[in-house]
């Protein structure tokens, strides 16, 4: 990469006033560093990832509203977690956490466990208990 061709595109970094450091060669072929506000292909890759994530969240919401899954699934997706990460935060086995995503199992969970889930998801307990269209 040549120093004068370091991309200065708009990105989520630049919107926070952040810049990242790149290594590039100057006109004499010497390496040095320079800052970049962003690069479009990266922004696209991030957008593709975020779109995918939002779709997962929407699908999870649908499943919960249809009574196929418990709100655990929705909040897990919203927290960008998967089963292993959630299990690790809960200090439980993956299959147990997966089981809690079944609506009939979820209904029987005691308050301590629900509270722990709420803490992990950084939400209030009632958001888990009274899940609805606006959640």
């Amino acid at each position: 990469m040549k120093k004068d061709s370091i991309p200065q595109d708009k990105s989520s970094l630049s919107s926070k006033g952040m810049k990242e450091m790149c290594y590039a060669v100057d006109e004499n072929g010497e390496y040095s560093t320079a800052l970049s506000t962003g690069w479009k292909p990266k922004t696209i890759a991030l957008e593709v990832t975020m779109d995918d994530l939002n779709e997962r969240i929407e699908n999870a919401k649908k499943s919960v509203l249809e009574g196929k899954k418990s709100p655990i699934l929705y909040f897990m997706e919203r927290s960008r977690m998967d089963w292993s990460i959630l299990a690790s935060y809960m200090g439980k086995r993956k299959w147990i956490v997966k089981c809690h995503a079944k609506p009939n199992v979820f209904k029987k969970l005691n308050d301590t466990i629900i509270k722990k889930y709420a803490e992990v998801f950084e939400i209030e307990v009632n958001e888990l208990k009274d899940f609805n269209e606006n959640s």
Partner: protein, 332 residues
């Protein structure tokens, strides 16, 4: 508590940045590319059975923490690493270090870091930063990928130090306990390069240049095997791993090229300057791959030829890197 003058230098990659900043504080002036090269930071591995954000794991660098450990070993620097079973102990140890005026490196999770843009907050637990002081209940942070220093409350810092999931940091704190004033930099550079050529040319399918070729072939097969949508998701993940904050662009290839240039001076070998130039060209090829792959992702191209093209680009990169690392090995 002891007030220390800690110089924050922004870097491309967090781990090398922490290493370089902490070593500079301890009187050893060493650049980020030099830490990276001596620590054999350039790498490639494909781990299909490990899923990260619902896509197979691909890494352009070795396991977290290894670059600094290797570099420290080569440079005869002693590093103390501590992990903790609970937050109290983790903070007692950190406060003890700050009282003694020891800036300390921490491994942290990115998801709860408040100063990162939301799009960058994923459950990635191998980020590194330095805590260099404390004001009241707030900790003074030097995060090497940021332009300036930051501040985190104890609660915020506790969250990132005890993030969960793969590579959970468990409060991991590290700091040098002895830094020699004289180091044999030539020897360190040589063994760093040797290790790199060995790893990149490893005779196993998923690692190094073979790994790149393996993934290159997969890219052509994914559309049929997992569908266009998932393929695009996988490609997006590849681009992100390759270009995300911390790589310095082109999957660390430019940092490595910068290292080869420094190495040419240190070892007095002008052939390394030519190899640095080749590495820069390969870095540009990776950027070109990212550019094309991002277009394919965005336009949701249904044309399988587009994926064949990307596959060819990657296989071509693998061939070029094989030649480069072989030449590098033979140049020593």
């Amino acid at each position: 508590m002891k007030i220390v003058e800690f110089q924050h230098h922004q870097s491309a990659h967090c781990e090398n940045g922490v290493a370089s900043n902490v070593l500079k504080f301890n009187g050893l002036d060493i650049s980020e590319p030099l830490v990276f090269g001596i620590g054999s930071g350039i790498f490639y591995v494909y781990i299909p059975f490990l899923k990260v954000n619902h896509a197979p794991a691909i890494s352009y660098r070795p396991m977290p923490g290894i670059i600094f450990s290797r570099a420290a070993k080569q440079l005869n620097i002693k590093i103390k690493r501590e992990r903790f079973s609970n937050e109290e102990k983790a903070f007692a140890a950190l406060d003890r270090n700050l009282d003694l005026g020891i800036p300390s490196g921490l491994q942290v999770g990115v998801y709860h870091l408040p100063y990162f843009p939301d799009e960058y907050r994923f459950h990635f637990n191998a980020h590194n930063l330095v805590v260099y002081g404390k004001e009241g209940d707030n900790y003074l942070i030097s995060d090497p990928v940021m332009e300036t220093t930051s501040v985190l409350t104890k609660k915020e810092l506790a969250k990132v130090r005890f993030a969960k999931g793969a590579f959970a940091p468990k409060g991991h704190m590290y700091y040098p306990t002895s830094v020699p004033t004289e180091v044999n930099i030539e020897k360190a550079v040589l063994s760093g390069i040797k290790k790199t050529t060995k790893d990149m040319l490893a005779p196993v399918p998923l690692v190094g240049v073979n790994g790149i070729k393996f993934v290159g072939k997969k890219v052509a097969k994914w559309p049929k095997k997992v569908g266009i949508k998932k393929t695009n998701h996988y490609l997006a993940q590849i681009i992100r791993m390759q270009e995300e904050i911390g790589t310095g662009g082109g999957g660390f290839r430019f940092i490595y090229a910068a290292f080869l240039q420094e190495a040419a001076d240190i070892l007095g070998k002008s052939s390394l300057n030519d190899l640095s130039q080749n590495m820069t060209e390969i870095g540009d090829d990776w950027r070109d791959f990212a550019l094309h792959a991002s277009r394919v992702c965005k336009e949701r191209v249904k044309d399988v030829n587009a994926y064949q093209q990307l596959s060819k680009m990657m296989i071509n990169i693998s061939d070029k890197e094989r030649k480069l690392f072989t030449d590098l090995k033979n140049s020593l």
